[in-house]
Symmetry: C2
Subunit: 153 residues, 2 copies
């Protein structure tokens, strides 16, 4: 996990939420962790292949997801409906796409698998990479959003 | 989603569980579904890229996971510990690897991302593919294991 891989995901998340949902999430300090575990109520997961293998997990609290997706769709959602799930998958795809474009400028080329969306109160997601996992916490007002990235090397 | 993609995943699951855990899961009838939702207590997720994009989800009930991993490790596990999570990630990786070798013989070449493992009672996983999702249900005695596969085309 190279340090220069942080900004593509940090900026990608800010860019996508600003452009798509008119929301500017406040990034906290990114950190490397060994227990590799995101906790959320709804998460998008996407696998990466290419320069090395990787995975990206975008985990929202229920409140953060409803806030972002309601703003993105211009319609108030009160529950994690199919439409909200699809939109979380789409946002995950776009964050991964934005980050992959920036990574390509650094000479690291990745392809992405199909996003999957996990729903379940307080679920935990662990990446099976051999290296540490990079966690980037964001706040949307008081709500939590975490982007976690792991690469095999 | 081509019909000939069913057997690589069905046989891959049986092969891996037989070889690694000395358990022979009984496959039920595979089916295509539109709602694309696996339900489980612990799931391995892996993204595929190559001939097309895809995702594989291997979802266990807690009882099925404990049964399989205890048998694989030769040690009784009563909870979804880190060791059990790692082993579920490893099994997901091996099922995907076994299936990818069979798919390559059919001329379809895929690379796999890093597996992620989701833990959360009764969590739901939806794949964001545009096409239908293939679900292969298995029974391990009375316990449930489901392998779901989706491809973009």
């Amino acid at each position: 996990m190279k340090a220069e891989y942080v900004n593509p995901f940090l900026n990608g998340t800010v860019n996508v939420l600003k452009t798509m949902a008119f929301i500017e999430p406040k990034p906290g300090k990114p950190f490397l962790k060994r227990d590799r575990m995101a906790i959320g109520d709804i998460s998008g997961v996407i696998g990466l292949t290419g320069s090395t293998q990787g995975a990206v997990v975008v985990s929202f609290s229920k409140a953060a997801a409803l806030r972002v997706i309601s703003s993105m769709m211009g319609e108030t959602f009160a529950d994690l409906t199919d439409e909200v799930r699809d939109a979380v998958g789409e946002i995950t795809n776009m964050i991964s796409g934005d980050a992959r474009r920036s990574l390509a400028e650094l000479g690291a080329n990745f392809e992405a698998g199909i996003p999957t969306v996990v729903v379940g109160k307080g679920h935990e997601i662990t990446s099976m990479s051999k290296g540490p996992c990079l966690a980037i916490p964001f706040k949307i007002d008081a709500e939590d959003l975490t982007v976690e990235v792991s690469f095999e090397q």
